[in-house]
């Protein structure tokens, strides 16, 4: 299983801050497609994906136990 994290506007869009999904073996790109199906609009949020707290590339593959986070454009400072 993969743990998914949603923040800020994406947390409000999805209505959850965290969930589990059976996405091991999928790429980050496939994770994005899965999310866009489940949460229409998320694909327009310019979000990056982090795996285990590090920014990931579209071709990176999720492994069982990974934490994947949708990172909308940051606005700290």
């Amino acid at each position: 299983m993969i743990t998914l994290h949603y923040f800020a506007g994406l947390r409000e869009l999805t209505g959850t801050s965290q969930e589990q999904a059976d996405l091991a073996g999928k790429t980050v790109e496939e994770l994005m497609e899965w999310a866009a199906d489940k949460y229409p609009g998320i694909e327009r949020a310019s979000a990056r994906v982090a795996i285990n707290e590090e920014y990931a590339l579209p071709a990176d593959v999720l492994e069982d136990g990974d934490a994947a986070a949708f990172i909308p454009p940051v606005s700290g400072g």
């Binding site: 994290h5 923040f7 800020a8 506007g9 707290e53 590090e54 940051v74 700290g76 400072g77």
Partner: protein, 146 residues
């Protein structure tokens, strides 16, 4: 305290300046970013910050390492507060020490730029007539806050 941290309580900036001070430091720069009442003619009531805390602290530490590589001899400490912040509250503090002042200024400004690029922290502005998560500030004319 930790040298790179996300906190929920009010920030005392001096402890970060003290942290980076060393006998070889001739200069310390301390930047504090504050909640500003007016932004582009709109009055902010308060802000709410949210973070992906463990990743944010890793990214703040990464910025610290980048500074040590780019400005040898410089040392940084950074904290960002999350939760509800009122006008004039400190949202972020950046302390940099260095043997010479030029590096202390440059590295400090570099840190705030990098925070706005890579650290997973988000700001929601709450106005009298609404609220909005702020994002992608760099694409807006005039830049974001501060």
């Amino acid at each position: 305290m930790k040298a790179f941290e996300v906190v929920t309580e009010p920030i005392n900036p001096q402890i970060y300046a003290d942290f980076v001070l060393r006998p070889e430091a001739g200069a310390v720069t301390l930047f504090t970013g504050h909640v500003r009442e007016w932004t582009k003619g709109v009055r902010t009531l308060y802000l709410a910050y949210e973070a992906y805390v463990p990743m944010a602290e890793k990214k703040l530490a990464q910025i610290g390492r980048e500074i040590e590589e780019k400005w040898p001899g410089a040392q940084a400490a950074i904290a960002h507060r999350i939760g509800e912040l009122q006008i004039s509250d400190i949202a972020v503090v950046i302390a940099v020490s260095s043997p010479h002042r030029k590096a202390a200024y440059e590295a400090n400004e570099y840190a705030i730029e990098r925070i706005k690029e890579i650290v997973p922290i988000w700001k929601k502005e709450i106005w009298e007539d609404g609220e909005e998560w702020i994002g992608d500030q760099k694409k807006k004319p005039e830049g974001g806050n501060q």
